[in-house]
């Protein structure tokens, strides 16, 4: 049996092979690639915040994105 055939128990008691598990991960990444550009920029800003606040990278500039502020203020 190859490593790819190793079976694992995932959420909802699904049994999948390691190969299927990684294929699922690739599909999730492809789905993320289809997000709207604006949404990706909002995720980027969150990553920049994490880099500064959690990663200690003080030289990273967190971008000013209007929609992010609007959302955090509960606006439209």
């Amino acid at each position: 049996m190859s490593d790819d055939d190793l079976k694992i128990l995932t959420r909802h008691n699904n049994v999948v092979t390691l190969r299927e598990y990684f294929e699922g991960e690739r599909e999730t990444r492809r789905e993320q690639a289809r997000l709207p550009f604006e949404e990706k920029i909002r995720i980027l800003v969150t990553l920049q915040m994490l880099a500064v606040e959690w990663g200690g990278k003080k030289d990273v500039i967190v971008w000013e994105v209007q929609a992010l502020h609007r959302n955090s203020e509960g606006g439209d």
Partner: protein, 168 residues
């Protein structure tokens, strides 16, 4: 970012640059999953060059932006409405990438983003470790017109490099 793009569009409207397109990591972000990056790379085609050597003069861009109050620099990046921007003169394959960039809207503001095929060519040309990762992500996640990509790479002498490392 919306305001930043509005300011950049003014450069084109006022004839300070002929054209521009978003390139680099942010352009890649348009086509692949979100990932961390720091700055906004803008590839520009200048309105004019100087002398026989066709030197690109960026000072009209900086002067215009300075008059609008954007004069804070961090390293090579100019801060435009809170976003670090780098202006990169486009030549060769980069110029072609600007001319063929995809017109899109960001929060209603028109802009242009380099296509996945041209980004692969430019990342291949730079070929730093981080560029190689983006090429693999683009090949896996973006819709690539393979014939178009091959045509670009062949015309710009990049096909052998691509075929040796990425072509299946």
């Amino acid at each position: 970012m919306k305001k930043t793009l509005e300011v950049i569009n003014e450069l084109k409207l006022r004839g300070i640059i002929r054209d521009y397109a978003i390139g680099g990591a942010i352009a890649a972000l348009k086509w692949i999953e979100p990932f961390f990056t720091r700055d906004l790379d803008l590839f520009i085609i200048p309105e004019k060059t100087v002398g026989k050597e066709q030197i690109v003069v960026l000072s009209p861009i900086y002067d215009y932006l300075k008059n609008k109050g954007y004069d804070k620099w961090t390293g090579q990046w100019l801060l435009i409405d809170g976003i670090p921007v780098e202006f990169i003169p486009a030549d060769g394959v980069a110029k072609e990438a600007v001319e063929n960039a995809v017109e899109t809207l960001y929060e209603g503001v028109p802009t242009k983003v380099m296509s996945a095929e041209y980004l692969i060519a430019l990342f291949l040309k730079a070929s730093r470790d981080k560029d190689k990762i983006k090429i693999r992500m683009l090949l896996e996640q973006a819709r690539i017109d393979k014939d178009h990509l091959r045509d670009i790479l062949l015309r710009h002498g990049l096909w052998d490099r691509f075929e040796g490392s990425y072509h299946e």
